[in-house]
Subunit: 276 residues, 2 copies
């Protein structure tokens, strides 16, 4: 009898490349469930880059920060990941990670891992209104969309993906939504890393205009530790996203992912290329 | 007659290491004007890492994003910088940069450079109130502080550095201030990169309590291009900073730097280790 494996777990199921002279190398491949219009969803590539460090035998603690730079389009197929612990301290570890296809670098990343200790803690940011709850909202229709949004259950409170690209410019690009993996999957660092890239390009919300875009760099801070992620489990989390600035080919977007109980799980920032 | 050289220009005056097998190597050193309590101000190290890519003969365009990971304390003295263009496309370029002392990595960085094209542009974020202006405010007293704050002229509208660490916990950690290099210096990418790390640790503002802290990673998006920076010139810019979350040894802080005319020059995010 075959056991069900979640597509995200299949996507991050990297294999250590056992060659003695390449001890930091892992191989993986793009997953059809996370295909975008061209190539894979960047969130999945992000989760794979993080996983290369997670699987590394010298890994210390849990991720607290991850920056991914999308250097070139990723082609469907095999990807080689090179994870190198650049510096290991007593309670922190710094990583440089690269993704290669054929002879070329397609993505670079840095990550900080840490062993956390209990300290004074406080959420200073204001959680956005969590009403209505996910059970009172309909799932965003995903028919006709690329594969990857079908792997998320998104329920918008505000700032949904436009139903029509009618070029009616909006005053802002804020979105607020409940989101979880589809099918359901217990939250961990891989899903949190991928979900941080699941906010649609802010320029689509703001301009309701289809323009070519591509994320060039993405940074996520993991405020949650494993224990907090385990509390979230398979439930929806509350996501909020906005843009600060659009200027001459680049805009930023910033996001937060909140537990239903009001803990900030991750804050995330990206810079996006656009043509308009 | 000796011409005055600004301490920041001295600090980023890196020398290409002319050895034929090390074409991407530059040497620099810590600058006493930017000393912190222990070692150098992270903003200066950030500017040096960026400068290693700026000075590289293969550099394309201007920086749009920079992430610096502070892997270990930087000792006073010489630093070797290794800048490598990991991928060069038609209009973007991705960098991996490392800082070494003795045999060890003390910082890693990635940067994205780009040739920008004119597009539809808009500032979506709300500029904080710019009143009163810098001429109506007193400069923050820097007597008794480490060297680096003496290299900035900071004039606080809100959320000043606490005059006493009286452990009176505040409701929030927001700051708003006018800031420029001291002595005056025309704004460029180096000063903008350094200034992005000039916001004092949010936990000091929030808790009014001295605790050991250290930035582990810093990401800055350069929304401004060279032309916009030239317009700013030597004037003060408006800075605003806040924290979102403090949890078990790490907090984040997020900042914005605005031109007096209301253009967003940079947005910046960092994750900071603390013990409390």
């Amino acid at each position: 009898m075959m056991r069900f494996m979640h597509p995200l777990d299949e996507a991050i199921d990297l294999r250590a490349f056992a060659q003695p002279n390449a001890p930091h190398e892992f191989t993986g491949k793009t997953h059809p469930a996370y295909a975008n219009m061209v190539g894979p969803f960047g969130g999945t590539t992000t989760a794979q880059l993080l996983q290369a460090a997670m699987l590394h035998p010298e890994r210390l603690g849990d991720p607290v920060a991850l920056t991914v730079n999308f250097a070139a389009p990723v082609a469907d197929g095999e990807i080689r990941f090179l994870a190198r612990p650049a510096r290991t301290n007593r309670s922190t570890q710094h990583w440089i990670i690269e993704a290669h296809q054929a002879e070329d670098v397609v993505a670079t990343a840095t990550a900080v891992f840490a062993v956390r200790r209990a300290t004074w803690s406080d959420v200073e940011a204001k959680m956005p209104s969590a009403e209505p709850g996910p059970e009172a909202l309909a799932r965003m229709p995903v028919k006709g969309m690329p594969a990857w949004p079908q792997c998320y259950d998104m329920r918008f409170i505000e700032g949904a993906f436009p139903t029509a690209f009618d070029e009616q410019e909006q005053n802002h690009s804020r979105s607020c939504l409940w989101v979880r993996d589809e099918p359901e999957r217990p939250m961990d660092f891989a899903s949190l890393a991928a979900m941080s890239d699941s906010f649609f390009p802010r320029i689509y919300i703001r301009r309701r205009r289809r323009v070519p875009i591509g994320t060039v760099t993405l940074t996520t801070y993991f405020h949650a530790d494993s224990a907090l992620l385990a509390q979230v489990g398979k439930r929806h989390v509350l996501g909020v996203a906005k843009a600060l600035n659009y200027r001459n080919g680049y805009f930023d977007q910033t996001g937060e992912l909140w537990s239903p109980e009001g803990q900030l799980l991750a804050s995330t920032h990206q810079l996006v290329y656009f043509k308009d």
